[in-house]
Amino acid sequence: MVDGKGARVDAGGSPVGAVAWGLHARVRVPLDAIDLDVDWRPGSDHVAILGPSGSGKSTLLRALAGLEPRAEGRVSLGDETWLDSDSGVNMPTWERRVGWVPQDTLLFPHLSLRENLAYAGSGPAEVEKMAESLFLSDLLDRRPRFLSGGERQRVALGRALLSAPRVLLLDEPFSALDRPLRSEVAAMVRAFARDNGTPIVLVSHDEHDAELLADERWMLVAGNLTADGA
């Protein structure tokens, strides 16, 4: 299971839904400080990647999203190839449909919360419903600058979930939420993943977040990914 190169027929091992997940990434990104060098086929739908800051966690997510122009290698989801530098395939980000929640949320500052949530094209009803499940209903007409850090994180999450993502890429998504809220939101994300068959890749330095969301853990140290026994 840890052997990324091994052929896998089914997703297996996922307690949450039966998704043929098949994310495979063999990526090398030359960075200033370290080289990110990952050969990776996770065994579960929901994986957490833990590691100290500077280990390349965010870069791995960006490479999966197609935002790292320097990335080389192969990335595929199921039988769809996203990146294959040998044959020159590099699917543009907007076709990959990843639900990326960046660490510093990056809410569009010139749009209200409602407009942020509806950005990918959701109707008003969907937006209202999402806002409700993230406890944001009262804030919909505000601009991002009037929100707390935790509120921003929830908006960023909602915005990603409303874009019909095929995989969720979460970068420290709960860091500004307090514990009870964190559990509640995590449960909501898991429910979303189960209902839609969306795999999750969580990047965090927080063991607790990993427990809440992921079935499988990996450690990223100095650009190298290894299985974490826990």
Partner: protein, 555 residues
């Protein structure tokens, strides 16, 4: 007769670019007429407009400080010997010949001469304001009379020094040029270039045409430039089919041929009157110099450069002192606004594209593109105008194509707009580039992950976020367009209601002894407009800063 008192002269010394003696002319390669002249012409041969402008500013500053008016580069001698140097302020068109005369004078008397050459319209007010000059030689009797009436010169000393002649020139090689001034009315010439109506040359030319009854027929075809030299350049380049200039200027230019001279007995003779200033501390020496300059030996030197004899001195042919043409200041203000707005609109898409490209993309030749775009910021505007005329003039491939498509550039409103745009473009692009540098591009990345491709993302995210910066750039370009002078006068001329914007109108008014009242309207309008524009820029910059802080502030 010359109503407004000179105290209303708004600026002491020239406006930038007002250094009339130079303007576009310094670019023209001029063959030295005599070896002697070439030796002496050190300062006036400085190749670029800026240098000349700088010299004029230096002269202006020196005047303020109460020091001698000549800039060092222009003086032909140093004043280390005992005989105190005479300071002579003289019309720019004499800058080749007078130093030769001064050398002859010095050989006789040992008294050195220091010159300051500029447009008569610049020099006369300087003398009135107390420039420590000893002798003034004007290109124009009107200005001399103006000064005399105000006690700036010793009226008894006024005398003609030399004369010039108006000639009609055509581009060299023109078949069948008109043979005399009467035939101009019917001649097959699309455009006839004249110096601005407030300059002596412009006034003389109009008077000569009126005298033969050709003015009405010619007027619709007249394109007005600034100085005589600029007018000459248009003819030399074939932008104009013919033009009226001074004989002395025409002789030095190989690309034009003199078709005929305005020489009828009745024609006014362009005369250079000289006088001893009222404030001189060396009236005898100054008078002696004036005697020498109008004497036989000097006359021969003048003649060698194409000037005519000063006449018998009994009576100077009276210059037609046409009242300054009714210049409507609001027409200039309106035109300035039209030009500035059009330039900003026309430049919007290119400025956003180039600004974005420079901020966000790396490509081969990027620094070259950046340099090219920024060049008009540092290149003197007259040089920019000269290059634009070269690229877009009737004789060029591109200019010919545009003219054939119905968009002629030179001497048109479009030309004025284009000149304003090119000169304002660097500021436009700089502001936009800066804003794209500061807008976090990860916003665009998030948009991509949400399934929105590049172009819609640009429209929905990058553009709105950059909007304050784009608006700031537009305001800066607008403000710069309002102030544009040099490139406009070269490319588009100085034509009332068509290309005469505020800056050109002020320039024209300052050229005229009677024009200084309307100047204030324009000066105030121009300062107000510029301040409003800059205030707008300030506001927009603050708006942008607030947006960026919003983003970086929270989390």
């Amino acid at each position: 007769m010359y109503t407004p008192p000179p105290t209303s002269l708004p600026l002491f010394g020239p406006l930038p670019n007002l250094g009339h003696c130079q303007g576009p002319n310094t670019l023209l390669a001029r063959a030295g007429r005599t070896g002697l002249a070439r030796d002496l012409r050190v300062g006036c041969r400085l190749p670029l407009h800026l240098s000349k402008e700088w010299l004029i500013w230096v002269a202006a500053v020196q005047l303020f400080m109460g020091q001698p008016a000549s800039a060092d580069g222009i003086s032909t001698t140093s004043a280390q010997e005992t005989p105190e140097a005479l300071v002579v302020l003289a019309a720019a068109s004499l800058q080749d010949v007078l130093p030769v005369v001064a050398r002859a004078w010095r050989e006789v008397t040992g008294v050195p001469i220091r010159f300051s050459f500029a447009a008569t319209s610049v020099l006369a007010p300087q003398i009135f304001r107390g420039a420590p000059a000893d002798v003034f030689i004007s290109a124009d009797e009107v200005w001399m009379q103006w000064l005399e009436e105000r006690g700036g010169v010793d009226g008894l000393s006024v005398r003609p020094v030399a004369t010039n002649q108006l000639v009609f020139v055509v581009p060299t090689g023109t078949a069948d040029p008109p043979g005399d001034s009467r035939s101009l009315a019917g001649a097959d010439l699309a455009q006839i270039a004249l110096a601005a109506e407030d300059t002596p040359a412009g006034r003389y030319a109009r008077a000569a045409l009126e005298r033969v009854g050709a003015w009405t027929a010619v007027e619709p075809r007249v394109i007005r430039g600034g100085s005589v030299r600029g007018t000459l350049e248009w003819v030399a380049r074939g932008e104009s089919d013919g033009g009226i200039v001074y004989r002395t200027d025409a002789l030095a230019e190989e690309r034009v041929t003199v078709a005929f001279a305005f020489g009828d007995d009745d024609d006014p003779i362009p005369t250079y009157p000289g006088a001893v200033t009222a404030r001189t501390e060396q009236p005898e020496a100054a008078g002696a110099f004036l005697d020498f300059v109008s004497g036989a030996e000097a006359m021969a030197l003048f003649a060698a450069s194409g000037f005519g004899p000063a006449g018998d001195g009994t009576g100077v042919a009276q210059v037609p002192s046409l009242a300054s043409p009714a210049l409507d200041p609001w027409s200039a203000v309106r035109l300035s606004l039209i030009v500035a707005f059009s330039a900003v609109l026309l430049g919007l898409v290119p400025a956003v594209a180039v600004g974005w490209l420079l901020a966000r993309r790396d490509f081969p030749g990027k620094s070259f593109v950046s340099m090219l775009v920024m060049a008009p910021l540092v290149v003197p505007p007259v040089v920019t105008g000269f290059l634009l005329l070269t690229v877009l003039g009737r004789e060029s491939a591109l200019g010919g194509l545009l003219a054939a498509m119905g968009f002629p550039i030179p001497f048109t409103l479009l030309g004025a707009t284009l000149a304003a745009l090119v000169v304002g473009f660097p500021l436009y692009v700089m502001a936009i580039r800066a804003v794209f540098d500061t807008v976090d591009r990860r916003f665009e990345e998030v948009s991509w992950t949400l399934g929105v491709p590049k172009l819609p993302t640009f429209r929905r995210i990058a553009l709105p976020l950059a909007l304050p910066g784009i608006a700031a750039g537009a305001v800066l370009a607008f403000a710069r367009s309002l102030g544009e002078f040099g490139a406009t006068v070269v490319l588009a001329g100085n034509m009332e209601g068509q290309t005469r914007t505020i800056a050109l109108a002020v320039y024209s008014l300052l050229e005229s002894p009677s024009g200084q009242g309307a100047t204030w309207t324009l000066v105030i309008a121009s300062v107000m407009l510029s301040l409003v524009a800059l205030l707008g820029f300030e506001r927009l910059t603050r708006w942008q800063r607030r947006r960026i802080e919003d983003h970086h502030g929270g989390r």
